[in-house]
Amino acid sequence: MEDLAGRIVKKAQQLGCQDAVADLVVNRAFQIRFGRNEPVISSRWRESSASVFLVYDKRVVATDLKDLTDIDASMDRLVKIAKASQRNPEYAGIAKGPFRYGRVRPDPKVLALSDGSNFVDAAVNGAMAQGAKECAGSFWRYEDEHFLATSNGVEGHDHRAGLYLSIRAMVSLESSGHGIACASRLSQFDPEKAGRKAGRIAALAKNPKGGTAGRYTVVFDPLIFGALTDQVAGRASAYSVLAGFSPFGKKVGKRVASPAVTMWDDGSQESLSRKKFDMEGVPTRRTAIIQKGILKTYLHNTSTAKRFKTKTTGNAGLISPDPHAVFVKPGDWSRDEIFSEVKDGLWLTNTWYTRYQSYVTGDLSTIPRDGIFRIRKGEVVETWKDIRLTDNLIRLMKNVVALGDASEQMMWWGEVSIPNFVPYALIKDVNITRSAE
């Protein structure tokens, strides 16, 4: 299996390809989904596939091969298709290797796990102890092994593994809370804490009343702040900018957030998506996206970097550059200090369904879910429901007043697509709307 990536690349070169990348992935993940406090299904995967990128005379073709029994035939077919395709004049090559990579290995205790039932029980029990009546969610043990080879001299091996648990606790349909546990090391994995948090928010969110539209100072829990920073990082991909899916066009060097905001992408750091290299084999590293509120760079692969007259940031995906993991520099406010700062405002704990009216302006709306709380003089005085956050991505980031002094790793279905290390955030003048009667 180890030399298959090299064989694919060699075959592509024999067929006349100028550039070729093969990422052979062996996936050994397992999952337990649970609902109404008990498992609903357990799943396990035994899959091997090869993500292949090849370029024939500036004709770019990508694939994910699942049949690895006849690589030669698959490559013949791909190159034939490439020849019938069209040139992409904007294509500018892949990174030149070889590169040296650090010695990072997954936690053997994570690899040794064969069941996650205890983690599910711990999370559910944690939530129930706080007053929840019904819990749902999923536990994952991720494990995949990558063997990368490119036509520019790259050879890399990376074994990645991690643990993840997402739990939603409910007291009733409209009184719920959400908790997340993420870790690459077993010793750092705390599903019970995630359950307790979900249960605590659910219990606090009892008997909500319909919210009132207006502009509010809002405390963003890490999970919902992560949904915003995930948007920022995704929209900072050079591909998003070029395709019209970003409000950050022509904004490098300009203010796009408050001076309190510094965030970077870093695939090399410990996270659920820690990786040694990107799809071109470029070693992952820290790349500042926003420094004290100023947009520093887009995220690039070799081709988009050339287009923007800069260097790759090591964010190549199979076709377009993507963020790996987002880190927000914590501020110096304790959680209590952030809440105390709110004389009359809201505390939002989660959101979903973020959609844009215009990507180039950043006008969007998103729907807070789980606990929504009215705060006066730092204290929760009411629970709300049925509101929508209708605002603008850049305006929200510019209105960040304070950041908490500790970051947590957040990743969640749909809204936080990659690990985002985020603290509590205080944002002023947030526009809240609600359904008309």
Partner: protein, 471 residues
């Protein structure tokens, strides 16, 4: 694919030997081909070659699922062992049961007049470049033109321990486009999606060049002639595109039985409709919303679902009341009813769950002109850009992209950013007349963990809503 069929049959038989009270296996081969044309340039071509087998078993009252893409007896045996083992190890207290179904033996396929496999990639690219050229010839400033053409050929074989053996073939075609039109410092963006089950002839059926150029013209007109949308309570006539999104979001999702039961609570959420709410009033008597996998050429067409149950039309809202939930065999057993064939998986390597297919407002007999005639002062919303709905499917927002002021039954100038932000019952209760101009758009429906973005059609005719608040 006899080899694959043998492996599937073997998986089912072996799972029974290992102690599964029920077993099913599904082979699936997907052959997607997709490209992006960005500002007239071919960005990258993606050609997939995906296949494998997934096995789901019921053992000791619990479900286990395992999948592999290694198609040997040894590998299939290993995933059956996995599935049975993890099901038996599950700490579930309430046994899962499946609603009864008769076994089916059949092979079905969607006809292709022009087989997708016979159309060269050159021809496909040229087709979309022709559309791109047509909008450039309009002379507008369109700095971002993003087209994605995707086709897929899906071959499946399903078997279960009750004797079902079903083969199928579904060719599918989809185009998604995204335009940004600029006028000075102002801009408009649009995103549209069309789907088709069948062969390359679907491209002609769409009439893509006409649709895209008309869209670009309407964007330019919005920028140059558009005025602020009126606010307050008034009548609104919505197009098939808006009816379709409402049918999907504000009827289809809240009537998914697994959501109603809480199985999706942590991801796609729950529902404002409870398990005992069949018959509850949610709209006016003219509102019938259904989901029908058997709509010919709609992108989510199928004859049997991924649990081997025959598909049929289901009326989720009938005469304004909750009439039926979308069911698979697991949820149907919980409701003491029968599956209505709504179980689908995005690929072999994920479990089949309750899903919508082609969801639409059932048309009636009004022409668009008749719907507009009854409006003294209001808005005609033809398309939307931003939309969302909460996780209990109660508070929805549809923000207009193309919309016009209507005065005394006549369409006047374009209005910009008309916002419908209403609860589900408020929306459907305001409908007083339903048109006959049924049309569909394509979409992806998101649900489950691992995420299963699935082909769906969203449709309906034009509808008139009375006295709703717009802003």
């Amino acid at each position: 694919m006899d080899g694959e069929r043998d492996l599937v049959d073997f998986a089912v038989e072996y799972a029974r030997q290992k102690g599964a009270s029920y077993a099913e296996a599904r082979f699936e081969r997907q052959e997607p081909e997709q490209f992006t044309l960005k500002n007239g340039t071919l960005d990258a071509l993606y050609v997939g070659a995906d296949r494998g087998i997934g096995v789901r078993v019921l053992a000791h009252g619990s479900l286990g699922f395992a999948a592999t893409n290694a198609l040997t007896r040894v590998d299939v045996k290993a995933i059956v062992d996995d599935a049975v083992k993890i099901a038996k190890a599950s700490r579930r207290k309430t046994p899962i049961t499946f609603a009864q179904e008769e076994p089916i033996t059949t092979d079905w396929s969607v006809p292709e007049k022009t087989k997708l496999a016979d159309v060269t990639i050159e021809e496909k690219i040229q087709e979309i470049q022709g559309v791109d050229k047509a909008i450039m010839e309009l002379g507008f400033k369109i700095p971002v033109r993003f087209f994605q053409l995707a086709d897929n050929r899906i071959t499946k074989y399903f078997a279960n321990s009750e004797g079902s053996k079903i083969g199928s073939y579904s060719p599918r075609l989809r185009v998604t486009y995204f335009l940004t039109v600029v006028n000075g410092a102002d801009s408009e963006q649009t995103h549209r999606d069309y789907g088709w089950s069948g062969g390359w002839e679907g491209v002609r059926e769409w009439g893509l060049t006409n649709r895209v150029t008309e869209e670009a013209k309407s964007m330019q007109r919005s920028l140059t002639e558009g005025k602020k949308s009126p606010e307050g309570k008034m009548d609104i006539v919505v197009s098939p595109m808006v009816s379709g999104i409402a049918a999907h979001e504000s009827c289809g999702h809240p009537t998914e039985a697994d959501r109603v039961l809480g199985r999706e609570a942590s991801q796609a959420g729950k529902s404002f409709i409870g398990p005992d709410d069949l018959g509850m009033k949610v709209g006016s008597e003219v509102v019938n919303v259904c989901d029908d996998p058997t709509v010919e050429h709609a992108i989510a067409y199928y004859v049997t679902d991924d649990e081997g149950v025959r598909a049929r039309r289901r009326y989720m809202y009938k005469e304004g009341r909750v009439n039926e939930f979308l069911q698979n065999r697991e949820t149907a057993a919980a409701f003491s009813t029968r599956s209505n064939g709504a179980s689908r998986a995005v690929n072999y390597n994920v479990e089949a769950i309750v899903r919508m297919a082609n969801t639409f407002v059932e048309p009636k007999d009004h022409s668009l002109e008749e719907l507009l005639e009854g409006v003294h002062f209001g808005v005609y919303m033809k398309s939307f850009m931003e939309w969302n709905i909460d996780d209990k499917r109660y508070n929805a927002k549809y923000a207009g992209r193309e919309a016009y002021l209507v005065e005394n039954g006549e369409i006047k100038h374009p209005v910009r950013q008309t916002i419908i932000e209403l609860t589900t019952p408020t929306f459907w209760s305001a409908v007083d007349a339903v048109g006959k101009d049924l049309d569909f758009e394509g979409g992806f429906c998101g649900k489950s963990d691992p995420s299963q973005p699935l082909d769906a059609s969203l449709g309906g005719p034009s509808m008139r809503l009375r006295n709703v608040y717009l802003r």
